[in-house]
Symmetry: D2
Subunit: 319 residues, 4 copies
């Protein structure tokens, strides 16, 4: 599968899937990768820690901690499951930011992606549903609840629409306002359609070039920006090339036919034709999934950034 | 492939693809189906006429004429190609409506689909870009160019959003305003990704239950409504199940493995999991494709409904 | 003021303002008009009943009951006030519909206005936030909570966009689906900017021609449709002509200058120039006000239509 | 009137209106202000040059050149008038940028305002309709027409939504990408409703704090950013306070009553109540006016930035 992934410029966004791919081929635990799994009533929390450079190379992902929250598919709008995810996100954020963020520190929220393309609009919608308070600190502090930190947010758009690299926009803002931390939200591509609308990944590694649905070249990392970067994402599409290759593989398994990667790739190129890697598979319910996921992520993050303040109050600061 | 199509509730929206599917299995012309092909500078116009009930049963589509305009993929925004398509649509509309529509007759435009789901928003956008003149006839006739007929338009939404069947809404309006003809636009599903953003189908058969991206149950036909119904559509998605099955078939051809339809279907169900037939494949550029197609179809239809009036003037009546 | 109102085609949408206008000129109670006022913690509920034809003529509004819920200005997004309004709306709906609606009866929700013009988009947004259940009754009854009635909804758009009178669309649907009741929501024009975002009017009289922000000619009444019509509206604009006349009047009062209605009207025409009665005054926060009002009205209506079902559950049926 | 303007925090955005206000009170030409008027077939071009600091103080606007293009009201969508405005804008841009911009220089386009508030969305829509080419220079130069310069664009949103001052966002981008020039578009407030949808102002002075519909505190000037800043704006609202004061003044003139500024202001405060200066007057057609103005400004600017390239081609680079 790695060849398919390389061929069609597919980036494995989820650490949990990167691990599955390696296990699949190597049938072993990856050295330097520590995994912890916790099952709650409705959801499962998987924490993968990549502890050293060698493990990072094997996994194709930087050293750091990746928390994956998995809920039953399509259950994202169930009020009880929603509340459980928000609580789990808040606790995970707390762990990922421990020692890196003080009360009162400014946090910059960044929503990556293209607001005009549904499957890529998770980031911009996250900004819309997040409490934004930085301007009140300067112009109307009386409108704040005691102890609320300054937050600000931007959805910088995508290169094809703005002509600007995300890094150019975000780096400029970071230099001008000196936040203590960045929280970046982006739509992700998965290897498995079941993950759409059922998985949230949170990591302390920032965003690597090539990640995300928009397939942009930006990098938003602590190394480049000088402050911790929490990256949060949800799978919203699976590449059509991946689906086609999976079909061929599974069919070979079922029928005993011999799988041939070169011929599988040639087949996929024939079918996807000139659209190539640009074809994505999404469920019909994608608008609703994005809407719900954006609200949940906004509240999950806010719960951690504004401890002790109710969701009802936090919503009043989202505009 | 028919079994895959049945299994996942896929409707073959394009007559040209229905014909290809039959030819593929039967390797012969279909009796009672007349085909005519015309090549212009940039586009190809294929006219399929289903002349009798037996041919209708074989093709799985009602008796009538189906004009398919094919342009080079992704060329839909090229100004020269655009103009050629608009002219071809206007002429095809004229042929399809000959003897059924008089100067001055009222035409009701209907845009099917869900404006909140990008791939399904072709119909509502068609209404937005179409000249609407009926109200001027009653309240401000001086604002009309001499000879403009009354047109009105509605995007009735989809059952899941309104709780209303499209037929219930459209039938009611038809009864109240007595138009001479209906023009219905809908997003279609294709069997081949190359058709997305490169194919427009026009027919005089109306819309059959089960057609279109939204997979609704409505029927908008002359039989039910009592007036001619011109149906126009563009493919905007391909079912992920179709892509997967095509991959397996092509792979078998390339490797000499034996294709097994039952196992192919079992494979596809495994991969698509609980989303099943609800997974669609769309290109990244789908927003732009929909936008351009809607504008072209609106102008192609308007060119026929308002002969002798320039596109620039017609655009002033679109709001 | 009546002359200004006539001159600029302004319709007094709120019964409570019609009454104030009459009291202002006549300095007396209006015979045949019964008023009842109830003060709750944060809101005030005013019920005006026009009991006979003479009172109807004096008030310029049909015989019937008009409930006006007034909250403190700009408090519409305060969670406590919001909850109080929703409860009050639910109880008022119950009173207005008593004896006219049985459990299990189908209700058609109609959202008047233009979704592309912010101040006129209250109706379409009401539909978006309302629970829609009619299709589940036919296709997926197991997805319903025991006892939920069928509801369906349509936002028919405005004449200038569709070329269709609202009545033509709604009458057709009523004939096809035979609902037991209509609930119609529209943005209203007020005489006083304080009413924007702070007042909700509910009545059992339906919608009269000329009412609403869109100033359309439609009539949606029990007389015309054969079923009870509950009309609900919120002021979202004040005519600029009204503001200008108020300024002149108040200035005359303050300075002792003599008010002259003819010269006031001439003045206003000079200032408003060719836009005339088409100029509206709205606050900067209008987007937010519309959003909040639409959600509150949707929940207030739903609370009455689906007794015993929690708001959290009801929101799952809004798409 | 100056007191009204100060009282309600109204900024006189148009130089042509600042001049009228001064002339009105002083009945004389302003020293240090040079005016040139040119009448074309459908439009009028007024060029005001403020030549020194004293004139700047009198006018309340910085030293520089202000070109005002006036078309007949509501004619903005007439194809012939549109073309004339675009040509005039292109020529005016050329004059304003002469000697400051070389072929091949990068230009950053900035669209100020709030895309969710119709009357304030001119800037974001300008970005949407402008050709963006900078990314092609790096990643797909073959997709460019020979000689196209790099352009990039951003709509930074408003403080109340992002918690970021516009200057903080724009300054950061300027530092990162080093453009040769900024073109900033914003919705303006006028003193006269006739100017809505009929006036475009272009200046080489940048944007001053307090200007624009959003009433933000940002400053985008050559002094602060180190590069020339062309500011372009269209009136989209008139303050309700201005309308009310005009009504009182005109009424006094017509009736011979004595105008009293203090009592006029007290009157206006009574009427506008707690919304105060936040109430704006807009015509019903505001959505359409914004849409048309944004397209015209985008083409007017592009005509100057990309000389020799047709509008049809330029539109292909707008996404």
């Amino acid at each position: 599968m790695q060849n398919i992934i390389d061929q069609f410029n597919i980036y494995v966004d989820l650490a949990i899937e990167a691990q599955e791919l390696i296990r699949g081929t190597a049938d072993r635990e990856v050295e330097g990768v520590v995994e912890d799994v916790k099952e709650l009533e409705n959801i499962k929390i998987n924490t993968i820690t990549i502890t050293n450079q060698m493990a990072s190379q094997t996994m194709g992902k930087p050293v750091g901690t990746y928390v994956t929250i998995e809920s039953p598919p399509l259950k994202i709008n169930d009020p009880y499951v929603k509340e459980e995810i928000i609580q789990a996100m808040g606790e995970s954020m707390n762990k990922l930011t421990t020692g890196r963020l003080q009360a009162g520190d400014t946090v910059l929220l960044v929503g990556l992606g293209n607001w005009r393309a549904t499957a890529d609009s998770l980031g911009p919608k996250f900004i819309q549903y997040s409490p934004i308070t930085r301007h009140y600190h300067q112009y109307a502090p009386q409108a704040l609840v005691e102890g609320m930190r300054p937050t600000c947010g931007i959805a910088p758009g995508v290169l094809g629409i703005t002509g600007l690299e995300t890094f150019e926009v975000v780096k400029g803002i970071v230099n001008n306002i000196n936040p203590a931390m960045l929280v970046v939200v982006d739509a992700l591509a998965a290897q498995n359609v079941n993950r759409i609308g059922s998985t949230i990944q949170m990591s302390n590694t920032g965003i690597q070039p090539g990640a995300g649905v928009g397939n942009a070249r930006h990098s938003l990392t602590e190394e480049d920006l000088g402050i911790p970067v929490i990256a949060i994402g949800c799978p919203t599409i699976v590449s059509a090339a991946i689906i086609a290759d999976q079909a061929i593989r599974k069919f070979c398994l079922k029928t005993g036919a011999m799988y041939d990667e070169v011929k599988s790739m040639a087949t996929i190129k024939d079918i996807l034709s000139f659209y190539g890697g640009g074809l994505g598979v999404t469920p019909k319910e994608i608008d609703e999934i994005i809407e719900n996921s954006a609200r949940i992520i906004a509240m999950g993050v806010a719960t951690s950034l504004f401890p002790g303040i109710s969701q009802e109050q936090l919503e009043l600061y989202a505009v």
